[in-house]
C-alpha cells in the first residue's frame, strides 16, 4: 500500500492497516464523502477526500449555505414578533388569563360561529356551488309556480303539491269552437283566464250583467267563440257603497254548470285584476248575484257571490275575486 493510492483519512492512526480505498472505486468513496457532506459534517474543503472528484468546491459551497445568518435574513424580526403578538395574543388571554369582556354565552356563540365558518370553509367549492344551484332552482321554481309561469304540466304538479295556482285552462281548439252543450271537459278554474285560445286578451266579468258595451261585446264574443266565462279576479265597486270583499271561483262552460266567483253585492263596476293580460276592466250594474257571461248565473250577495252559470254555447272558465262595495 502506497500513500499515493490511499486517502489520508483512510490511513491508520493506530498503526493497524485499514482497507485501502483506492481510486479504482471512486463511486464508493464518493458515496461516503457525499453522505458526510449531506449530513452536515464540516468537511475540510482542502482535505484530500474533498479534493478528490472535485468535491472540495462543493464542500465549500455547502459550508457557505449552511453558515451563519446574513444580516438581511434577520431583518424582519420586529414584524414577525408583532404578527406573533397579534395572532397568539388572544389565544393566550383566553387560555390562561382572565376572561375578556365577552360573557361566556357570547364567547360560546363566537366559538360556534367560528366553528361553523370553519366547517363551511372546509367544504369543497363544488359542494357549495351545487348547493347554491339547488337552492336557486328550488326557490326559482316555486316563484315561477306561484307566478303561474310554469308549463301547464309542471304548473299542475305545482298546484297539487304546493298549492300554486292551477295552470290556465287550455281547451282544445275543437272544444272551443264546438261549443257543445255537454262538454265533459272539466277544468278547474282557479287561475287566471287564458285568453290565448280565443285571441282575446281580456276577460270581463259583469257582476250584474253587462252594462258596458265593451263588456257586452266581449261576452258576445265569448259566446260566439264558445266560451262561457273566464277566470276573473276582479275588483268591483260602486261609488258610495260599503266595502264588501268577495272572492270566489267561477267556472262556466257550455253545457256544464259553472261557478263564478265575484263580488256580487251591488256592483256596478268591476275591475279584473288578473288574467293573462293582468288587468282588465269590466263594468256593469244590475242585480246582485247575477253574472253574465253567456249563461245563467246565480249568486249570493253580501259581498260574496257564487254564480253558477250554464253557458249556452261557450266553454270557459272563470274565477273571480273581487272587492265590492254595496252600490247605490
Amino acid at each position: 500500500v502506497t500513500g499515493g493510492d490511499v486517502f489520508s483519512s483512510a490511513m491508520p492512526s493506530d498503526g493497524k492497516p485499514r482497507i485501502p480505498v483506492s481510486r479504482a472505486a471512486p463511486a464508493t468513496t464518493d458515496a461516503l464523502v457525499l453522505d458526510r457532506l449531506l449530513d452536515g459534517v464540516r468537511a475540510d474543503p482542502d482535505g484530500e477526500e474533498c479534493r478528490n472528484g472535485g468535491l472540495d468546491m462543493v464542500a465549500a459551497l455547502l459550508v457557505r449555505i449552511a453558515g451563519p445568518a446574513d444580516s438581511d435574513e434577520t431583518e424582519g424580526l420586529a414584524t414577525a414578533t408583532a404578527m406573533f403578538r397579534e395572532v397568539l395574543g388572544p389565544v393566550s388571554a383566553l387560555g390562561g388569563g382572565p376572561p375578556l369582556a365577552d360573557s361566556p354565552r357570547s364567547a360560546s356563540r363566537k366559538g360556534a360561529r367560528s366553528s361553523a365558518a370553519r366547517s363551511l370553509a372546509r367544504l369543497p367549492r363544488w359542494r357549495l356551488l351545487a348547493a347554491g344551484v339547488a337552492a336557486s332552482t328550488v326557490f326559482g321554481g316555486m316563484a315561477a309556480a306561484y307566478a303561474g309561469a310554469l308549463p301547464a304540466g309542471l304548473q299542475t304538479v305545482a298546484h297539487d303539491v304546493i298549492g300554486a295556482p292551477a295552470p290556465p285552462a287550455h281547451q282544445p281548439p275543437a272544444a272551443h269552437h264546438q261549443g257543445g252543450a255537454n262538454q265533459d271537459t272539466t277544468r278547474h278554474a282557479s287561475g287566471p283566464a287564458h285568453p290565448g285560445s280565443h285571441g282575446d286578451r281580456a276577460r270581463h266579468t259583469a257582476a250584474g250583467g253587462p252594462a258596458s258595451p265593451r263588456a257586452a261585446s266581449h261576452h258576445r264574443r265569448q259566446a260566439a267563440a264558445g266560451t262561457g266565462g273566464g277566470h276573473a279576479y276582479g275588483h268591483s265597486s260602486s261609488p258610495g257603497s260599503q266595502p264588501a270583499n268577495g272572492r270566489g271561483q267561477g267556472q262556466g262552460r257550455s253545457g256544464a254548470p259553472g261557478r263564478s266567483h265575484a263580488n256580487l253585492g251591488h256592483p256596478n263596476r268591476g275591475h279584473q285584476k288578473r288574467g293573462h293580460q293582468k288587468r282588465g276592466h269590466s263594468s256593469g250594474g244590475g242585480n246582485p248575484g247575477h253574472q253574465s257571461g253567456g249563461g245563467l248565473s246565480h249568486g249570493t250577495g253580501n259581498g260574496h257571490g257564487q254564480a253558477h252559470g250554464n253557458g249556452g254555447s261557450g266553454n270557459g272558465q272563470g274565477a273571480g275575486s273581487g272587492h265590492g262595495r254595496h252600490g247605490q
Binding site: A60, D70, G76, T79, L88
Partner: protein, 184 residues
C-alpha cells in the same frame, strides 16, 4: 436552537411569550429564507411571512422535539410553496431577474479563490441550477439539518431515494462548479 432548551422555549412561545418566539425565529428564519430562495426565489420573503403566520396560528397545537419542530415548520413552508405554485400556474407572471444573482466574481483567480468570496446568494444561485427535487433535498439535508428519513417524510419519498437524490445533486453541483470556475 439548542435541543435542550427547546421544550421550555416552545412552551413559553405557546403561552404567548414573544421573546421565546423571537428566539425560534432567529434560529429558523435564515434557513427558512435560504430554502425558499432556492425553491421559490421570486417570492421567498412573502412565503416566509406566510409560513410564520401559519406557524403562529398552529403553534399551540404542536407537540414534539426540536428536530420535529424544524420538520413541521418546513412542511408548512413547503405547503405554502406548493399552494403558490398552483396559484401562479393559474395566473402566470414574468418576474424580472434578480440582478444580484447574475453578479459574478470579478476575480480571474483560481476557482478556490472565487469560492472564498462566494456570497450566500451566489451559492444559492448555484444550488438553483440543480433540478428542483435535488436542490430541495440538498437544502433540507444541509441547511435545515434534517436526516434522510425526515426529508423523505416531508417530500413524500423514501430515505433511499432521498440519499440517491442527494448524491446526484452533489455530483452535479461539482460539475457545475468546475464549469463555473473555468468561466469565473
Amino acid at each position: 436552537v439548542d435541543p435542550g432548551e427547546f421544550p421550555l422555549l416552545l412552551t413559553r412561545a405557546q403561552q404567548g411569550d414573544a421573546d421565546a418566539f423571537a428566539d425560534l425565529w432567529r434560529a429558523l428564519n435564515p434557513p427558512l429564507l435560504r430554502y425558499l430562495r432556492v425553491v421559490a426565489p421570486d417570492a421567498a420573503e412573502d412565503l416566509a411571512s406566510e409560513t410564520w403566520l401559519h406557524a403562529c396560528r398552529a403553534l399551540s397545537r404542536f407537540q414534539g422535539e426540536e428536530s420535529g419542530f424544524r420538520a413541521w415548520l418546513f412542511a408548512i413552508a413547503r405547503n405554502r410553496v406548493v399552494d403558490r405554485g398552483r396559484w401562479t400556474a393559474r395566473r402566470p407572471e414574468s418576474p424580472t431577474a434578480d440582478m444580484t444573482v447574475l453578479d459574478s466574481a470579478s476575480s480571474a483567480d483560481t476557482g478556490q479563490a472565487a469560492l472564498d468570496e462566494l456570497s450566500t446568494a451566489r451559492a444559492l444561485a448555484l444550488i438553483r441550477q440543480l433540478p428542483r427535487e435535488q436542490a430541495e433535498v440538498v437544502m433540507l439535508r444541509v441547511v435545515v439539518g434534517l436526516d434522510a428519513s425526515a426529508v423523505a417524510d416531508l417530500i413524500g419519498s423514501t430515505p433511499g431515494a432521498v440519499r440517491v437524490a442527494g448524491h446526484r445533486a452533489l455530483r452535479r453541483l461539482a460539475s457545475i462548479l468546475q464549469a463555473e470556475a473555468v468561466t469565473l
